[in-house]
Amino acid sequence: MPAVQETVERVKRIDVDQYRYGFETLIESDKAPKGLSEETVKFISQKKNEPAWMLQWRLEAYRRWLTMTEPTWARVDYPKIDFQDLYYYAAPKPKKTVTSLDEIDPEILRTYEKLGIPLREVAMLEGVEPKVGEQDPARRKIAVDAVFDSVSVATTFKAELKKAGVIFMPISEAIREHPELVQKYLGSVVPTSDNFYATLNSAVFSDGSFVYVPPGVRCPMELSTYFRINERNTGQFERTLIIADKGSYVSYLEGCTAPQRDENQLHAAVVELVALDDAEIKYSTVQNWYPGNSEGKGGIYNFVTKRGDCRGNNSKISWTQVETGSAITWKYPSCILRGDNSRGEFYSIAISNGFQQVDSGTKMIHLGKNTSSRIISKGIAAGKSQNTYRGLVTAHRKATGARNFTACDSLLIGDKCGAHTVPYIEAKNSSATFEHEATTSKISEDVLFYCIQRGLSQEEAVGLVVNGFVKDVLQQLPMEFAVEAQKLISISLEGSVG
Amino acid sequence: MALLEVKDLKVRVEEREILHGLTLTVNEGEVHAIMGPNGSGKSTLSHVIAGKPGYEVTDGQILFKGEDLLEMAPEERAAKGVFLAFQYPVEIPGVATMTFLRTALNAQRKARGESEYSTPDFLKKVREVSKSLNIPQDMLKRGVNVGFSGGEKKRNEVLQMALFEPSLCILDEMDSGLDIDALRIAADGVNALHSPKRAMVVITHYQRLLNYIVPDFVHVMSKGRVVKSGDKQLALELEESGYAQFEDAA
């Protein structure tokens, strides 16, 4: 099979050159002392000017964490992490107090510009602004919260959001300005005792985004956070909390990059979503952390806990993820379908190449009546990577009328990689209706030949097939992200596919 | 005595009233056509008579041979002689048509206190009827309706009608999904079953079917009520002028 052989050769040639976000920004930063102790936790809390209750919450989590052990059930393999050899807090050292974007370290702004993320609002307003009420999808506004290492450096469009009543700010600010909301919801979806990494995050999280959409409000623009790890040996622990009050709607996007480094860096974030009656949250992620080099050296350990709680009746939470980066990905964005008639969705593209290891999927926990869920997962394994879908669908005794549809498909490119599917399907009442299907295959030689015979190059043909393979998921992304994601997919598989 | 009496029937589905007081009387040997636009409640009526779950009768009654039909389970109604030819006959994979026919026929006979059919008699009867309906024998070995064409499914319904010898046949949109040849074969099968003891209720949207199965009475339904009754001439009028004239009458 010469066609396949060529693909294999190309996969072998892949190296770090494909990672276009691997540069480092030279700025001064403010770090906590290395290692983890109650002092570190207190240091972080103090840096953030947190109230006493928040420090207490963190310390409880920290003490809990000391009693816990790392999970081992995932199909990932990595040397033991020395949690005392990490920095838990790094902030770009402010030249002075920042009051507007212009005062942010220009190096940081340039970093985001290089990443293609416009922090300057003016950049978004170029050309003709759409008329009020008219949604021009190509020119929709996006409010951005940028998190550089451990802290939020800028949030755009604050004023316009405020007018709509939407709160969008760094969580460190929200803890001070909206303590009643934070206290009510923080840890209510992912409790501090949830799992090893979530508990660690609860103790040391430094920043992240906070969103509150009041009852009946449709958030007037996409909200977005860009995460960037810059510092060496620094763990990044963001915490995101989104609350959609009754009858509201919000779409939130998240993007991540990091410089290329030889050592592994830990990223252990927690995201909590709460949707009350009739509310809807759409959460999209394009994860492109540094995946390590061609020998499998370096890269981010992405150990993330993301969970949404459809707390109200008729609520809906939809996760979409495009996972192309990280040396190791361990993440299962989940939905607790508590409210009657609530709905959960999970759309995922997970691409692994080189020595990447992905163990990702979702949990759909049906508790309320007539709840429904849908899982579409597309895994693509190339190089020497291992790509696992792991998913749980469970309908409890009282979840009458629960429905789930799951389709997980895997594509293998080359004969040195692995693609695995581990679904857990638990039906505990007779009115639950579950349908699950999974396939694993390689790109059909016949299809490739057909395309090539019609004049496409090998790379174009493979690209075409891969794009078709992931289309169902790409369509779920907001348009701006879909374009970016499509580019990323090409880059991730560059050399192996077009 | 009337075979079927529907009196001031009110029916709800999920809190919404579909039939708002429908009255209909069918005597032995008569052929009734029920016509009406989509959503007028025609199929609901057939489902309620057969006892399909999910419908709530809030008022009125249905008498069959003088007995309260609504008090009976669907299988009791079948044994008493109510037959519904489904608009969309379901596919039952794994249950051979022959097994199904025999199980159903003997269940009905047992419920009526009659003896079960002997195997040779049963096979002879099935062969006879299936031949007249142009149903190949290998179709009877397959799962019920599995892989059958639209025409085959409808013929299978008529085959059952012939075997079970019901006294009331309700044909729900028998013409849907059939081409003219398939329709003719099915209709011929139905006509062959016409007898002075048996009544037919033909539910249809189009007049076309009534060229083949000629009704004694035609009822027009709109918005959950019978708004006009007449003879077969009424069907031809409808063909000309459509249902719009009745939309307001309801």
Partner: protein
Amino acid sequence: MNVALAKTGNGRAVSDLFTSAEGRLPGSPAVAAVRREAFETYERLGLPHRRIEEWKYTDLRALVGEVLPLAAAPDSAALKRAAEAVKAHAVAGARKLVLVDGVFAADLSDVKALASEASLKTLHEALANEANAAAGDLLQTATTDAVISLNAAMATDGVVVSVADGTQLSAPIQIIHVATAAGASAFTRSHLRIGKNVRATVVESFVAAGKVGGYQVNDAVILWVGDNADVAHIRLMDDAPDAVNVTSHFVTVGADVKFNIFNMTAGAAVSRLQGFITLAGENSELSANGVNLLQKTEHGDTTLVVDHAVPNCVSREVFRAVIDDRAHSVFQGRIIVRPDAQKTDGKMMTRALLLSDEAEADNKPELEIFADDVSCGHGATAGALDDSLLFYLKARGLPEKQAQALLIQAFVGEAIEQIADDGLREHVIGIAERWLERRS
């Protein structure tokens, strides 16, 4: 009785299980050493529990709690009762090999009839053979866990059957396990070596004599299928409603083989069949099928690991579960495709039918794939009987129970029809029908 608590931390009681039985366990000193080591492994692990991933849904510590003491060798009264059970459950025309309470019963078996087509020894004989230095290997398996180790330590008997190359068995071999003793355990292990170009059907039945119950069965079968053979292996578990049955199968399949497995679970309070099937020769076809029929508070687990170790093999799995009352069905199916096993075609379909609001079905269909040129997939569904089908049948005059029974038979029929032998298929359908009659 019942003193042998099978939990770690209660070492003394656990050891009693072994030491009190040791005098009855056949084997040379070398075999005894293998047994002791296996028992120590078991003792260290204890009964499997939900934190062991492979046993996540079948927590034997919670469901069973303790391993009952070894059953006494059957006396003449027990053999007489066993004879009646054998009569009731024999497959017409099959050559019977009967194990009563874990001991081979020659008088109930068709030893002579089988002799012309296969060689037969008992495990007891094979282990006790001082001349065989490798006798201890009979207690070793490629895969192991706590219950398999326990079986290696405690196995009292079983059959060692070998079918020579080119033999066409004229009748199925039926191994019948009969329990006659309440409150006791039987540990059996059989070795079946099927030669090249052989055509054979092996049935294994698990039954109780009369109304006996409250016993435990731990069986292991090690099966080799030679090249170009055509073999069917059928397990019918019809144990008493309060019995426990854990069976482990280890199968190695050669090249160009047609291999058909069927398992039916229609009894026992707690049961598990765990099959480890390795496709070790190219161009073989595996058809692995099963039905769990569960009612009351029964817990039935079918776990199949199909390992494609070489290229160009096909595997097909069809599994059906029917779960009534408060019963709990588990299906775990894993298809492994090793790095060199290109052109593997592996498909698995599992469906669960829940007949009651308190029934539970857990499905874990896994794919573990390390080769790229493959076509693998699985499907899983769970749900109630289709209301529209039920209504159609009722509208044609079938009472509720009869309509349900017809649909249930059709549902499990998709798995049962994979059994090629007409007589056997009818025998299996008979078990399903009896199960339907037992439904409350």
